[in-house]
């Protein structure tokens, strides 16, 4: 009996007729509909059976008279099974039971929907504003269907996020939104006693772009991959592939094998790029700029390679629903191999210099420690989890694209600190090179000049759920798509790995030195743009700026009218 069947039987036994529907059609996926009362019980039951929490998706289903839908997704990594538990609450009482007390990693997901959809969560420990900007008016929930995607409420003055007061005996050092060690806007209010970090508070979501809302109201299925790719400047391909896979899964499409291999190659090239980038940034964060410059010099070859294959150094634009847009011919394949050989050689030299450097050991070992148990309870993923002895990797656990056919090792470390992350990401560079070489071998054996994408026969049926995961360089990225009418998704939800990791950062920082703050936050390779994907407006502060901002707004509004 497969895990999905066993699970279905068990849930039916435990909950009886509270389970409304079970859908096991797609291999590796289980979509469950339960009644609202059963949500907490299902979550507890799944957690007890060892499921890893991924994300929550909520959507406005008032159009069909179902009120508001809420989906929690879970992963059974050993059994290659993803579970999505859906429930509905009526329009006039959109309250769900909070699962945050049980699963702390669900805290942000639930807060997100308090802001965006006006849902309520019973027993949520911290139902504060998370996503919306501080001057966003109460009572307007931008993800609701009746709120237009371009709504722009007037900016309020003199509003600021109310940060907590520093605990007694500590003072606050503010990191961000503009700080040399944070490359994107996020604010950490760090409580320090001398140089010892005693806690911190996070305020992010300063640069939301309303991408999910845009996809649900303005774009069509095949336009979204290009917008999805622009969620992030580093793991763009991850998001476009992930979105395409979610739609393909929902529509029951099987894309050409050649396209799957090409997607795999692009994802791994992106991983090489990202790991080298991170390695450089990590060096910079501990004041070792030579590592920074050298690893970015190696990375430059990858950028050059990407440009050769796709026409772009980054943001490849390769993915569409049903396949890819460009082929990798034999000629290109041999060029890729040449570059990879060079990269591997130079990487070996750099690795030797880095991993043997005593001073780097001093700055990374024992720094940003978080135990394996804590990593499990915060649902950490990717290199951050693998550095804590958790051998989870979506590529192995839930194979997608062509990963079922390639051989590679899941690199782990057990030091539970920055050092472990460093080792994992350095070693994964070689695994990525191995994967690409295998893919190129296999591509060579597949027939050439075949179509690289499916021709869609008729519209994508509406009301279908698709759940896809991709191992981004930083960890698992989750995309959920609920198909809709008008040739566009009814709901599309993106959960980047940083969304899970950032919630664990306060625990990682605790009792470390202030000097280690940059590298501890850096070890999760925070991608704020991935995390902040949904917003609508940005808040300006300071008197001198204010005039300027109003001026800017006036100009942009008049432009909008002209159009």
């Amino acid at each position: 009996m497969s895990r999905a069947e066993e699970l279905s039987r068990r849930l039916r036994e435990e909950l009886g007729n509270l389970v409304l529907d079970l859908e096991t059609g797609t291999p590796g996926r289980l979509f469950i509909d339960v009644s609202k009362e059963a949500l907490g019980k299902v979550a507890a039951s799944l957690k007890n059976q060892g499921a890893r929490y991924q994300a929550a998706v909520a959507y406005d289903a008032r159009k069909t008279g179902q009120g508001f839908g809420l989906i929690h997704t879970f992963a059974f990594d050993r059994d290659s099974l993803l579970v999505a538990v859906r429930t509905f609450a009526p329009e006039d009482d959109p309250e769900f039971e909070s699962i945050t007390p049980l699963i702390p990693g669900a805290g942000w997901s639930e807060r997100e929907y308090i802001d965006l959809l006006g849902l309520k969560f019973k027993n949520h420990p911290e139902p504060r504003r998370l996503v919306l900007s501080d001057d966003w008016p109460e009572g307007i929930h931008p993800l609701r269907r009746d709120v237009p995607h371009d709504l722009m409420p007037p900016a309020a003055e003199e509003v600021a996020f109310r940060l907590e007061k520093a605990p007694a005996g500590t003072s606050i050092i503010p990191f961000g939104p503009f700080h040399a060690s944070l490359h994107e806007p996020a604010h950490f209010s760090v409580y320090v006693d001398g140089e010892d970090i005693k806690g911190c508070e996070y305020r992010g979501f300063m640069t939301h772009r309303g991408i999910e809302k845009l996809a649900q109201t303005e774009l069509t299925y095949n336009e979204v991959p290009f917008v999805a790719e622009r969620i992030c400047g580093i793991c763009g391909s991850v998001h476009s592939v992930n979105y395409a896979q979610a739609v393909e899964a929902a529509a029951g499409l099987k894309i050409p094998r050649r396209a799957e291999f090409i997607r795999t190659v692009m994802l791994e090239i992106e991983r090489l790029h990202s790991h080298l980038l991170w390695l450089g940034v990590a060096g910079h964060l501990i004041g070792f700029d030579t590592v920074f410059m050298q690893s970015w010099r190696i990375r430059e070859k990858i950028m050059w390679l990407a440009e050769k294959i796709t026409g772009n150094r980054k943001t490849y634009g390769m993915v569409i629903i049903g396949g890819v847009r460009r082929d990798i011919e034999r000629q290109r394949a041999s060029e890729i191999r040449v570059v990879l050989t060079e990269v591997e050689k130079e990487m070996l030299a750099l690795e030797k210099a880095i991993l043997k450097d005593k001073a780097i050991h001093k700055r990374t070992k024992g720094v940003g420690h978080l135990s394996k148990e804590a990593a499990v309870s915060w649902n950490l993923v990717g290199p951050v989890a693998r550095a804590r002895g958790l051998a989870i990797d979506v590529r192995k656990d839930h194979p997608y694209a062509a990963y079922d056919e390639v051989d590679f090792e899941v690199v782990t470390a057990d030091s539970c600190d920055v050092w472990g992350t460093l080792v994992v990401r350095v070693k994964e560079v070689y695994e990525a090179i191995r994967i690409i070489n295998q893919c190129l071998d296999k591509l060579g054996r597949l027939p050439e000049h075949e179509p690289l994408s499916l021709v869609l026969e008729g519209p994508v049926p509406s009301g279908r759920q698709g759940l896809s995961v991709v191992e981004a360089p930083r960890g698992e990225a989750v995309h959920y798509v609920l198909t809709g009418d008008d040739n566009r998704p009814e709901r599309w939800r993106v959960r980047a790995p940083t969304y899970a990791h950032l919630q664990a950062v306060p625990d990682m920082l605790l009792n470390n030195k202030l000097a280690d703050f940059p590298i501890i936050v850096g070890q999760i390779d925070p991608c704020i743009s991935c995390t902040d994907r949904v917003l609508v407006i940005k808040l300006g502060q300071g008197r001198a700026e204010l005039l300027q901002k109003q001026e800017l707004e006036r100009i942009s509004r008049s432009r909008r009218k002209e159009r």
Partner: protein, 299 residues
Amino acid sequence: MKVAAVFINLLYFLLLAPLLEGVMRKITARIQSRQGPPLYQPYLDLIKLLGKENLNAAGHRAFRLAPLLAFASILAVVALLPFGGGSNFLAHSSDLMTLIYFLTLSGFAVLLGALASGNPFASVGASREMMTIIMLEPVLAMTLILGAVRSGSFSLAEALGGVAAPGELSYFLMLAVFLVALQAFVSRQPFDIPEAEVEILEGPYMEYSGPDYALFRYALNIKRMFYGWLLAAGFLGSWLPGNLILSWLVQTILILLIFVAISVVGATHPRYRMDQALKYYAVLMILALIAVGFGVKGW
């Protein structure tokens, strides 16, 4: 001649100090596979900064005073230095202690500016700077005091002669300590902790811009050159040729080479944490004390 020596010293340091920063930037860039800015870039930087509007970001008088104090006191240090083996015009009213006093004063001026700025990053930088001064200044003081012990005089020229005289155990021990401490004296990686760009955004200098910042930079450059000079003209002084011009030339080349070495070390190390650096400084301080002890014993 004795009066001229004061001005020659001042000019020598004022003109050469920015070049050393240029050397450091160039060498670092080459190690990092970069082209790097031209050697004269720091002069342009200083001229550019000096030509900018002076902002008093903190609105406090001490904030403006600090860079002037830092610059003036480091100029006082170099004005006192002996020239061509003999003491200069200022020697009759100054000695070893005056030099240590001015040198420490320039460090405290940085603290003053940082604390006056009221910036939280600057105050973290100030506390790091303070710890560094407390741990490192004694090492420098002991270098000079050993010279005084061995020459039996507090006069600068003679004490430096004492520093230079090789051949005894205390000389070699102190030379070793000084070489190891040099990287910290010039606050380059792994010891650029008080400024630490990615952590505390240049710490004490964070709120400074324009001419005030230029003065701090200039003072820092001169201070760095002073430490290089102390190694070249002090510890290695007895090997310099007798001819005044030639010895001055060799000494300048030596200083340049010292800064090449400093750049290489800086480019191949990450930054230490304060707690790690303090342990390191403590060992240096103890060794310096032992060296002075040897000096007293005449070893």
